[in-house]
């Protein structure tokens, strides 16, 4: 475990956990507002800002690049909002337009930079794929500042964010400036994406926003629990990912974190409280309920032509009425005490069963 004594490891860990926390928080809101891919689009939209700013100042100063990226990210956001407002194009399409044209502009700048005599563009390439080990101390400070801004704004405006996400119109009726709050949310998202650009690159950053939020959603209906769970899952993924990535230097950090994060998501989807396995269990239980009800009703149907309600019925006779007469269902009913097995293949209602069947008939439930 030599890496625990390595200073670079802690630097990278700090960088990735910062983005994990911020994107975990904002991803929840984005997911609930069905704007998950907005993160991907903003990430691509920051590219011309990065390369354009470099073209302007011709030095790879992290601060300048970040400012350029933020400006172009905000412009991209504004254009998305304007285009959505003034056309009837679908959200996907608007995002696609901004994504591709902005990124195209960025690559035009990039290729112009590549032809310049002072070709330092190798650093700019790192923003596409991410290169966490090149983080400097003052980069970490900038990132921490942004992290603090995101967390404190979310804490201060928690109620507003919550109501905007779930019921925008109601928020407007009680006087909350919905559009301004949404603008704040998107600005925070732009800042988070800027944070993540150097650590994981802009292609993978949408996963940081979406994966932890989706995982958290499978376990709770409560927004605050969802946000905390999202941060938790994000921290697991970033910590594990950073440890693995630093132990094997040939593996880049971003992709490992994404794979771990997505694995957590898949696990949550299958095993979560709203997950697939829970759905299967509930569905099975419902099916059993329906079948037992129908079986009891079938008994009653027989009894309509007889005087004695406890007359035993043969299994084949039951099969005639009920389309799906299962041995299993019969045994289940016997377990519950509603019928008794007299001989092989002959079944008889008990008094308890008779009472239950009469109640069910009164309920008018449809039979298969």
């Amino acid at each position: 475990m030599e890496i625990l004594y390595d200073f670079t490891f802690y630097k990278i860990l700090l960088g990735t956990t910062l983005i994990g926390i911020t994107s975990g928080i904002l991803g929840c809101f984005a997911l609930l507002k069905k704007q998950s891919l907005l993160g991907d689009t903003i990430a691509h939209a920051t590219f011309p800002g990065l390369t354009g700013m470099f073209l302007l100042v011709l030095q790879k100063s992290y601060a300048f690049l970040l400012i350029g990226a933020t400006i172009s990210g905000l412009i991209g956001n504004l254009l998305i909002y304007l285009i959505s407002k003034h056309t009837t194009l679908k959200q996907d399409t608007v995002l696609g337009i901004i994504l591709s044209s902005f990124f195209g502009l960025g690559t035009v700048f990039l290729t112009i930079i590549q032809k310049l005599p002072t070709a330092h563009q190798a650093g700019l390439n790192k923003f596409i794929f991410g290169h966490a080990s090149t983080l400097l101390i003052h980069d970490i400070i900038v990132l921490s500042l942004i992290g603090i801004i995101v967390c404190s704004t979310t804490f201060a405006l928690w109620k507003e964010f919550k109501i905007i996400t779930f019921d925008t119109q109601y928020a407007q009726t009680i006087g909350i400036p919905a559009q301004k709050i949404e603008a704040i949310l998107t600005i925070l998202m732009v800042l988070t994406i800027i944070v993540g650009l150097q650590t994981v690159g802009l292609i993978l950053i949408s996963s940081f926003l979406i994966s932890p939020a989706v995982s958290a959603r499978q376990w709770t209906k409560n927004l605050s629990s969802m946000v905390f769970l999202s941060i938790f899952f994000s921290l697991i993924a970033t910590t594990l990912g950073t440890i693995i990535s630093c132990s094997y230097p040939s593996i880049p950090t971003g992709p490992v974190i994404v794979i771990i994060s997505t694995t957590i998501t898949i696990t949550s989807l299958v095993f979560g409280t709203r997950g697939i396995i829970t759905q299967i269990i509930i569905q099975n239980k419902k099916n059993k309920d329906i079948k037992t009800t129908c079986m009891l009703k079938n008994f009653m149907l027989f009894n309509e032509s007889k005087i004695d309600p406890f007359h035993p019925h043969d299994l084949t006779a039951l099969k005639v009425i009920g389309k799906k007469s299962n041995r299993k269902i019969l045994y289940l009913l016997e377990q519950q005490g509603f019928i008794t097995n007299i001989q092989n293949n002959t079944w008889q209602l008990t008094s308890k069963g008779l009472y239950k069947a009469q109640k069910l008939l009164a309920r008018k439930q449809k039979c298969l």
Binding site: L95, G96, L99, S101, F102, T107, V108, I112, L204, S211
Partner: protein, 295 residues
């Protein structure tokens, strides 16, 4: 104009049309960003095929790309069918996962091989004319020209044959289901068409230009027409104009052709949008006599 530039322009024209045709249907069905997802996930198919065949010029790489496109769409649809995730989140989960696997595979197994990820993003349009197709020792032109030509023909055939079904599946999937037109099948067919264009074009155009060509010209045409029969040819025309302008700009300023065309498309969209705001009656739709009589 020297012959090389004419060939590049020809390849660009064919790519533009090949992308615009399925793009019309894709943007109307609200699944435009799956194109972005497929184009990123293609890297995984290429890497896996490369690791199997150990040959960077093998045609199996194309097959790998097609397979990874299908895998992306299938996984996304699977995630949506669990009803636990919405469409956009499903897309945003799938492609980073597949892309990450690809990047890690490259770094572990192929770090010394020059699998140029830049080329996949940005394309190598400038070098496209130099890959020639040689049959029986005669040079009949750049490979990309032939590939894109075949793809354009495939697209045109599919769009004209299945125009009714595709339109119905997009605008009214429930009606399609009632009439037994299987909207799900045509949805997949649309994805497959888009994948063919993406894969055919990624070598020359790069993934970003492909997304731009599929999404933006149809969107611009959408602003200028009322009916799909006008929108489709209009999107092709707009795409050709934008590609020409983009190529000329890139040529004069010596920059990425793919990026320039993408930017030009976006700019033209912006201009048309502004123009529509100022003169809302701008429309290429011919009025039918019945429209005038009824209004």
């Amino acid at each position: 104009m020297p012959i090389i530039q004419i060939q590049i322009l020809a390849i660009i024209f064919l790519t533009s049309i090949a992308c615009a045709l399925p793009g019309n249907f894709l943007i109307l069905s609200g699944t435009a960003l799956i194109v972005d997802a497929i184009s990123h996930a293609i890297l995984l198919g290429i890497v896996v095929m490369f690791l199997i065949t150990k040959n960077i010029h093998s045609p199996f790489l194309y097959i790998g790309a097609i397979l990874s496109g299908l895998v992306t769409v299938t996984i996304t649809e699977l995630l949506i069918s669990t009803k636990l995730i919405k469409k956009d989140a499903a897309i945003g989960l799938t492609f980073p996962f597949l892309f990450s696997i690809a990047v890690i595979l490259i770094n572990i197994f192929a770090s010394n091989i020059h699998l140029d990820t830049d080329a996949i993003l940005l394309g190598e349009l400038a070098f496209a004319p130099f890959d020639r197709l040689i049959i029986y020792n005669t040079d009949i032109g750049p490979i990309s020209l032939w590939i894109m030509g075949v793809i354009v023909i495939i697209q045109t055939i599919f769009v004209s044959l299945f125009y009714k079904e595709l339109t119905l599946s997009i605008f009214d999937p429930h009606q399609a289901k009632i009439l037994k037109y299987k909207p799900q099948l045509f949805h997949y067919m649309l994805m497959a068409l888009a994948s063919i264009s993406i894969i055919g074009a990624f070598n020359t155009a790069g993934t970003i230009l492909v997304v731009a060509l599929i999404v933006i010209p149809p969107a611009t045409a959408y602003l200028l027409s009322n009916h799909l029969t006008t929108m489709i040819p209009l999107s092709c025309i707009i795409s050709l104009i934008a590609s020409t302008i983009g190529y000329l700009c890139a040529h004069n300023y010596n920059s990425s052709i793919a990026g320039a065309i993408a930017t030009t498309n976006g700019t033209i969209f912006g201009i048309i949008l502004l123009a529509k705001k100022i003169y809302p009656m701008i429309n290429f739709q011919r009025c039918k006599k019945s429209d005038i009589d009824n209004s």
